[in-house]
């Protein structure tokens, strides 16, 4: 059981929070500051928001005797990343009225809006609520947004598998009504027993908890980077069940060797019936009871697993659930891609996967992306499906409507935009980082696009421009862009400096390793030039860059 003596401060905050209420309601009324109290900052995450400030503006505002430019980032809970056109239209307008205007598609298939002033927080949540969207548990020490293979063309039974995302998410929601009270002006509960929460109790989980569902052979959800990964086992178009993988997680801290990225270990199989839900629920309770509650850096399930071992874990599941996990079934991952361009599913519905750099939906002088997407939504002829690569699929388009949608894509040059984007750009991810992320050590989504332009030149020079190398960048070692599960990973160490990671595989079943540390742009490009040259010269035909790198032992001993 977890050490209850020296609990971390966050544990205390959670326990005395009165069902995640804290003093949020009062804090929203404080006229003196755009911020909320530190304790409430920890609590507001459970409601799907982070208090941030525009780091670009700190010095100048200080000189003006103004406090930091505080604002909320809100993250929606969208299991499996599916929105109706009506919901997308609402999202578009909320973004315009209450946030910076940019709609950010995240690496967990959902949406973030930034720059929401305190006075706009309630209106934002109300507007989302009106179209049945919420941000409950999108952050915080609870189960987060459940991800799932996004593209219906992946399997005739995609819809069936996909439905589990919403059901799992629902099952693992906290019982507190605080969200409705604080943000939606609902009556205060008189009878608190309605809020009895056998799963989270009053302490919630020791840390964030993430669940993802993959449909082999495509592993575009990076299923093994989740605390709990579910791999759909499908036999001749019938869903049998899921392999259960636990202990994934990428977060690490520079200079703290006790922390490390880890891919989930497959520990068994469970049929796609009640037992699936029972097993998931049980795993969450085990992490609740055994996860480290004194050191948050060591609180994720991966550390719990490495502390007690897989056998102990299987045993504990069997005991608590009343049945054991079956032995894992065979499966293969042989790709990790978004299927760009037009695709058709088994029912003949059409899908267009759009290239959206770093998942940032906004209008620029070059591309009226945001306007285009609104126009598409307004036709009511396409659903919106987000991918875990910060991508977007215009989905479930009837044959007769395809031309309409294609016309709009044409009109806004989005077809060309997607086709002309290089293979490496299409396979890249950059996390948010500066200016909003409080933990960023270096730039990421603001910087990668220009760095890629340089890298593209090198690839073309080495005649490698068709290679779909998976390249990911983050502004710090937390790993939000899953850089450790990339063939080329950049992890920020300080302004303008990045660790270069190599040797990860293309399918996301092998983490990469540090090759060289704290490189600046010039050095990065010099290094890559040589690496690409060798790769071109000495690769075995069809050999992926990540595998070649490993063969060359391109990692720090």
């Amino acid at each position: 059981m977890n050490d209850t003596k020296n609990l971390s401060s966050t544990e205390r905050i959670k326990q005395k929070s009165d069902g995640l209420r804290g003093t949020l309601a009062e804090g929203l009324l404080d006229e003196l500051t755009g911020a909320i109290s530190e304790d409430d900052q920890a609590l507001v995450k459970f409601h799907g928001m982070y208090l941030q400030d525009d780091r670009d503006r700190r010095e100048e505002r200080a000189e003006k005797k103004l406090e930091r430019l505080f604002a909320f980032m809100i993250r929606l809970r969208i299991p499996g990343g599916f929105l109706t056109p009506e919901q997308y239209i609402a999202l578009h307008h909320v973004a315009g009225e209450h946030s910076t205007g940019t709609i950010k598609i995240t690496t967990r298939q959902t949406i973030q809006l930034h720059g929401i002033l305190k006075s706009h927080a309630r209106p934002t949540i109300k507007a989302f609520n009106a179209v049945k969207l919420d941000s409950i548990s999108a952050c915080g020490d609870v189960n987060r947004n459940v991800t799932c293979a996004a593209h219906p063309a992946q399997s005739p039974i995609h819809a069936q598998v996909h439905s589990y995302a919403a059901r799992i998410s629902q099952m693992l929601l906290p019982k507190t009504k605080a969200y409705y009270e604080i943000w939606l002006d609902q009556e205060k509960l008189t009878d608190k027993s309605e809020e009895e929460d056998p799963l989270y109790e009053d302490r919630y989980l020791p840390r964030k908890f993430k669940i993802g569902i993959a449909i082999p052979p495509n592993n575009e959800v990076d299923v093994l980077t989740n605390d709990l990964g579910l791999i759909a086992i499908i036999e001749n178009d019938v869903l049998q069940g899921f392999n259960v993988a636990i202990g994934g997680g990428l977060g690490a801290t520079h200079g703290n060797s006790d922390t490390y990225p880890r891919l989930a270990s497959v520990i068994g199989y469970v049929p796609a019936d009640d037992r699936l839900f029972k097993a998931i629920y049980t795993i969450v309770t085990i992490q609740r009871d055994y996860g480290n509650r004194s050191d948050r850096k060591l609180a994720r399930l991966k550390y719990t697993l490495d502390k007690y071992g897989a056998d102990w874990f299987r045993e504990e599941i069997a005991q608590r659930a009343g049945f054991p996990l079956e032995p894992a079934r065979p499966y293969v991952f042989n790709e990790r891609v978004d299927y760009f361009g037009w695709q058709q599913n088994h029912q003949g519905l059409w899908y267009y996967t759009l290239f959206i750099e770093s998942g940032r939906v906004c209008d620029s002088e070059k591309l009226a992306l945001k306007t285009a997407l609104l126009e598409i939504a307004q036709t009511g002829k396409a659903n919106f499906r987000f991918t875990t690569n910060q991508g977007l699929i215009l989905a479930d388009i009837k044959k007769k409507d395809k031309a309409t949608i294609n016309g709009i894509l044409e009109k806004y040059h989005l077809l060309a935009h997607t086709e002309n984007a290089s293979a490496i750009r299409k396979n890249s991810i950059a996390c948010v980082a500066l200016p909003t992320c409080g933990l960023a050590l270096a730039e990421s989504q603001r910087y990668l696009p220009t760095l890629l332009t340089q890298i593209e030149k090198l690839l073309t020079a080495h005649d490698l421009d068709k290679e779909a190398i998976i390249l990911r960048m983050t502004g710090c070692p937390n790993g939000c862009g899953r850089p450790y599960a990339a063939e080329i990973g950049f992890v920020g160490t300080g302004p303008g400096r990045y660790n270069l990671h190599l040797c990860g595989d293309h399918e996301g079943t092998r983490l990469n390793r540090i090759y060289k540390e704290s490189l600046d742009e010039a050095t990065i490009l010099k290094e890559l030039d040589v690496l690409f040259w060798l790769y071109k010269k000495e690769r075995i035909t069809g050999e992926r860059f990540g595998d070649f790198a490993l063969r060359q032992k391109w990692y720090k001993a």
Binding site: E31, L32, T33, K64, K65, L66, E67, L69, L117, S119
Partner: protein, 589 residues
């Protein structure tokens, strides 16, 4: 018993003697009788007390009193920043010392019905705005100008306070003097106009008053052409002018704000001021405008012109002394006379005038220069505290912005200040305001200061913080937007953290559909606000006169009515009492 000559001699002696002298005399005569010897043979014998050294007599030997006919004197003052009050109070004390029955009263409290009964009526009144009476004297001023009252009995004297730096020097005083005369009053003595260094002249004026009270000379028929004129001429202005160096100049409004409010820190060692005082500056005209005028008129830039007993080259005169950017109607009128054209009476810049209604020749332009008025000083509330920011003066300056047919223009002085860079110097004077002062350290204060109205309250709070004053402090601040326009936000937050600010309420008018202003926040807090007043809190208002200070006052009255369950009249009275006891003061512009 006495022979007539002896009798008259004695009467003269008595009349000519002060009270002390008479007392001594009676004692002396008694002594003489006792000694049975002719006293004058040996006056020293009785060791008379050195009469002439008694203070009353020593300071005013030339001011004997009519013990025969005891006079009743009213000394009424009209003040904005306390100078007139201070003088009037000194005068009253001196008069009382002389055994004169004296009533000291502020013109805002003066019962206008009493006017007709007044016998000896002395007024000390300053001039404000552009030649207007102080707000407190407005009622009186309008009353006598309506000319419904007659004051045949009245012998009056007016002491006008002013500043020769302003175009209409002592205008309010002049008007009062003229008008009291028009409605039948007789001048006890001529109008005395005083510049900012008024002490000595004022003292002499009152000496003459006392003299007149004793032996009234026939009314000086010459209207207010005063003996002060030569003095004034001799010293253009007695103001102490300081030079300060800019240390910092930051625009407090964030990017995207529609406003620019500059926080200036000025190094100014040894400048005496107190929280509540403001700083005065005479801005210079833009060089381009001056050049344009010279070019347009072909006038010789270096031609020497007389100005206030000094000589200035024309260019200098136009740049630094005379108002050319925005002429008041009265000057436009004079211009029309000079150029012999009919011009609608509106405010307009000289350059525009010259373009639209050109002068015939350079000679005519020289005539125009003759009718121009001096550049009026601009005042800025000091936002620093002598205690917290020694050797420095801080200002909070809103860059005044306005539009003339689509073109954005800036106010002369505030624009200049907003452009100042570190290391540059400015000339200024201190305008003391003894009416707008912190109360006793343990008294509570409520400060209502939206926009630049925050300036003196930053000074108040810094001062109280530095001195560890025990009184509670409550601030109402407002502006347009929370994120861009919250002036001094971090300082205010620190004062809240450290407990210096007991309470703060903010109103950001444009952050929501319905406009919200400080008075609305006062309404929300009405119960507590009234409780504070009841427990003796002092209330201050600073910032825009219109509409802010007016709306705030209405709200105050509503609050007093509602919370104190009073009638409108009672509420008025309640507020009036606060005003009289110095617990409700405004510094609005």
């Amino acid at each position: 018993m006495l022979t007539t000559p002896k009798m008259t001699l004695m009467q003269e002696l008595i009349a000519g003697s002060s009270r002390e002298e008479l007392i001594w005399l009676s004692g002396y005569l008694a002594g003489v009788v006792a000694q049975g010897a002719p006293a004058y043979a040996n006056p020293a014998a009785a060791h008379p007390a050195p009469v002439l050294s008694t203070p009353a007599a020593a300071t005013h030997p030339a001011a004997p009193e009519a013990t025969a006919t005891p006079v009743k004197v009213t000394i009424a003052y009209g003040t904005e920043t306390g100078n007139a009050k201070k003088l009037a109070t000194d005068f009253a004390a001196r008069a009382k010392k002389k055994g004169i029955q004296t009533k000291l009263v502020g013109l805002e409290q003066y019962r206008l019905n009493d006017l007709a009964k007044e016998e000896y009526f002395l007024t000390v009144i300053s001039t404000q705005g552009d030649g207007e009476p102080p707000a407190a004297a407005k009622k009186f001023y309008d009353h006598i100008h309506r000319g419904e009252v007659k004051v045949e009995k009245m012998k009056f004297g007016v002491l006008a306070l002013g500043d020769t730096a302003y175009p209409l020097f002592c205008k309010a005083g002049e008007d009062v003097d003229q008008q009291l005369h028009n409605i039948g009053g007789q001048r006890l003595l001529e109008l005395q106009k005083c510049d900012t260094d008024y002490e000595t002249e004022a003292g002499h004026w009152f000496d003459r008053v006392l003299q007149q009270l004793h032996s009234p000379a026939r009314e000086t028929t010459a209207p207010g052409v005063t003996t002060a004129q030569p003095f004034v001429a001799a010293r253009p202005t007695g103001k102490k002018i300081y030079t300060g160096t800019i240390l910092t100049n930051v625009n407090l409004n964030d990017r995207g704000s529609g406003k620019q409010t500059h926080h200036l820190e000025i190094a100014a060692e040894g400048v005496e001021y107190a929280p509540g005082d403001s700083l005065g500056i005479v801005p210079e005209n833009p060089a381009i405008v001056v050049e344009a005028i010279l070019a347009l008129t072909g006038a010789d830039a270096s031609r020497p012109f007389p100005h206030r007993q000094e000589e200035w080259p024309l260019a200098q005169l136009l740049a630094r002394k005379l108002n050319i950017v925005y002429l008041p109607e009265r000057v436009v009128k004079k211009y029309a006379a000079v150029v012999k054209q009919d011009i609608p009476e509106t405010k307009i810049g000289l350059l525009d005038l010259l373009k639209i209604y050109p002068v015939k020749d350079v000679a005519q332009f020289h005539a125009v220069v003759g009718i121009l008025e001096p550049i009026a000083p601009r005042l800025y509330s000091i936002s620093s505290s002598p205690e917290a920011h020694p050797g420095e003066i801080h200002l909070t300056v809103a860059r005044d912005t306005f539009h003339i047919n689509e073109e954005t223009k800036y106010g002369l002085c505030s624009d200049g200040l907003s452009q100042l860079r570190q290391g540059q110097t400015i000339e200024f004077y201190i305008h003391h305001n003894s009416q707008f002062r912190l109360p006793a350290p343990d008294a509570d204060i409520i400060m209502i200061g939206p926009g630049t109205g925050i300036a003196p309250f930053r000074s108040f709070l810094a001062e109280r913080d530095a001195r560890g004053a025990a009184g509670r402090n409550w601030l109402f601040f407002g502006d347009r937007h929370f994120t861009t326009d919250f002036l001094y936000q971090t300082e205010i937050q620190d004062w809240v953290k450290t407990g210096v600010l007991t309470r703060i309420n903010t109103a950001f008018s444009r952050d929501q559909v319905r406009k919200v202003y400080v008075q609305h926040k006062m309404e929300n807090q009405s119960a507590d606000l009234f409780r504070w007043l009841e427990s003796g809190a002092h209330l201050y208002v600073c910032g825009a006169k219109e509409p802010m200070s007016v709306d705030v006052e209405h709200t105050l009255l509503d609050i007093i009515r509602k919370e104190g369950s009073k009638t409108a009249a009672q509420a008025e009275h309640y507020l009036e009492e606060l005003r009289e006891t110095g617990r409700y003061t405004k510094d609005v512009y």
